[in-house]
């Protein structure tokens, strides 16, 4: 998580003009400075306007369902190699934001760029959906589920081959679920299911991994296992964005935290963002910070 490592991923191509970047990690102003660098050259947009070390660029984006906006003028930027947590209360737009980045939902306005391409048009983005939306009684084995990770790039009419199966086994090894390969997916605990889903996205070897509530309903052991293996991948250059409503893990694992409540309340390193003011602005007045979490936050701030 050192700064040097981040700079390792900065391969500034002189051909592409680097967008002006705001490196101040102060609590982001509530009003995003969105029209500051609005692109007046639509042609340039297609080439991507973020510099190569930017994984996600989001400017004045709004999105929602059936005409109702869930996200309002969201502006932030994730650098390659960062581990970013998105926190906010239920219904604050965390999942919606991930869906926009994953290319599953078209934004209504603003500009979004993911790994230098419009969302959903590039490769290298892995997405782990919320496990509570999945039909766990579906008749598939753990191995079948992980193998689905290669389906997207296989293309039509091709069946997974021996190399794909080896990749699936390796991914199961990485998450420590190799022994369960033959089990029906519904036989596993919540934490084990989550690890299998992470394995499925790792098969694709993504540069950017998006996880929707990866530790919801997951026991402490699996939480630790999941974050440890994600951190391991991060060290090898992967960018990770995860939503959570569990504040206790925020200071320990994330490089930066995005506090979201329909709009960006704050964005920056945990020590700067996790203040009483931003938390109550994010979660409303009824935020309950338990003593242990408060201690963890305090130690993170120093």
């Amino acid at each position: 998580m050192s700064d040097e490592r981040r700079h390792d991923h900065r391969h500034v191509d002189p051909g592409i003009p680097a967008a002006p970047q705001d490196h101040s990690h102060a609590v982001t102003p509530v009003k995003p400075h969105l029209h500051e660098h609005v692109d007046h050259h639509p042609a340039r947009r297609r080439e991507g306007k973020g510099s190569p070390n930017v994984a996600i660029l989001c400017e004045g984006m709004c999105a929602g369902y059936y005409g109702r906006d869930v996200l309002d003028e969201v502006t932030f930027e994730v650098l390659r190699g960062e581990f970013v947590g998105i926190i906010g209360p239920n219904g604050s737009g965390k999942s919606t934001l991930l869906k926009v980045i994953a290319g599953l939902l078209e934004p209504q306005c603003g500009y979004v760029e993911v790994l230098g391409a419009p969302p959903g048009h590039g490769t290298g983005v892995g997405y782990v959906p919320q496990t509570e939306l999945v039909n766990w009684s579906f008749p598939v084995s753990v191995f079948d589920v992980v193998l689905m990770g290669v389906y997207g790039k296989l293309g039509l009419f091709r069946r997974p081959g021996a190399a794909d199966k080896r990749a699936a086994e390796a991914a199961l090894d990485e998450v420590g679920m190799r022994d369960y390969a033959g089990a029906q997916i519904g036989e596993l605990s919540g934490g084990q299911q989550q690890r299998v889903f992470v394995a499925r996205s790792l098969v694709q070897d993504p540069q950017l991994l998006l996880l929707d509530e990866p530790i919801a309903g997951v026991d402490a052991t699996s939480q630790h296992a999941i974050f440890t293996l994600l951190e391991e991948r991060q060290k090898r250059g992967m960018t990770i964005v995860a939503t959570t409503h569990d504040l206790s893990c925020v200071a320990t694992w994330f490089d930066k935290v995005l506090c979201l409540n329909h709009r960006v309340i704050a964005f920056g390193p945990p020590s700067e963002v996790l203040t009483d003011e931003t938390l109550s602005a994010t979660f409303g007045s009824h935020v309950l910070v338990i003593p242990e979490a408060q201690a963890a936050l305090r130690s993170a701030q120093h």
Partner: protein, 288 residues
């Protein structure tokens, strides 16, 4: 042996047997998706809506199945579009759409009262009346549907299990679910011969639901479902012959029997039998 061979002396029984075997196969294979994706109500809706197409085709004197197929596919895609683009629940959309189209069919039918007897076959199915052309149509459409299922096997599996992740991986999930609805519509039209509009949903759902009790694997579920579907079609047709009963009802009831047997002996849960015995033991203990 004679019991099995005697009916086959008559050509119309052979034709009916071929038709119901193919219908049993295609329904039980497509039924796996119907059960796992909760499309049973959509299937019922498509079947009812197709009736309007059949009546229109009857009025204008062209092939009844083509007429039914066109309306069935349009209804299927219409239901898909409505449930995707608005916050109306798909069940509500189906409830509104299919009853409306069915009502249109009933209205048209009541205007041509003298043909009612012929059209009644479509309500309850009469596989004994299939002719050579029908056999060709059923065979062609069955092969077509099975080929599509085979070709898009992994895509349909992924999109059925986890549509969000499938879409994020670049699979065209909207096109795939439309494809599935079209397959479903074709399957339903093919099956009207055997089961009719009212019973076709059972051919789709029951074998697959029975198979679901017996296996934990997707390919296994498809194989077991196909076996139950084909078996029920053959057994049901013989039952229909010897009981002199409507073929649709005997085929469906045979499949239903398979379903309850599967439920009782399912390795997935503690079998029903063991549960009943345990409950009886508890009652006896309490009585003491």
């Amino acid at each position: 042996m004679d019991f099995l061979l005697a009916p086959l002396q008559q050509e119309f029984i052979v034709r009916a047997l071929i038709a119901s075997t193919l219908i049993g196969l295609v329904c039980s294979v497509v039924g796996v998706y119907v059960v796992l994706r909760n499309l049973a109500f959509i299937g019922d809706g498509i079947a009812h809506a197709s009736f309007a197409g059949i009546v229109i085709a009857y009025l204008f004197k062209f092939n009844l199945y083509i007429g039914g197929l066109i309306v069935a596919v349009l209804t299927a895609l219409g239901i898909g579009a409505i449930s995707r683009r608005s916050d109306i629940s798909s069940d509500t959309a189906i409830g509104v759409m299919f009853t409306a189209v069915f009502a249109l069919g009933v209205l048209l039918m009541s205007r041509v009262r003298n043909y009612v007897v012929d059209l009644q076959d479509f309500l309850f199915g009469n596989v004994l009346s299939v002719d050579r052309t029908d056999i060709m149509l059923v065979t062609g459409l069955t092969i077509g549907v099975l080929l599509v299922v085979f070709a898009f096997y992994k895509e349909l599996l992924f999109a059925s299990f986890d549509p969000l992740m499938a879409q994020a991986s670049g699979l065209p999930t909207v096109a795939l679910s439309n494809l599935l609805l079209v397959i479903l519509a074709v399957t339903i039209i093919v099956s009207l011969q055997a089961a009719g509009i009212v019973l076709v949903a059972a051919l789709l759902v029951t074998p697959a639901a029975a198979a679901y009790q017996l296996t934990n694997r997707f390919d296994g579920m498809m194989a077991v479902s196909a076996a139950i579907g084909v078996g029920s079609a053959i057994v049901g047709l013989y039952a229909s012959y010897y009981l002199n009963a409507a073929s649709g009802s005997t085929i469906v009831l045979t499949a239903t029997l398979c379903f309850f047997l599967a439920l009782a002996f399912s390795p997935k849960r503690r079998s029903l039998l063991t549960q009943v015995l345990a409950a009886r033991r508890r009652v006896q203990m309490a009585a003491r």
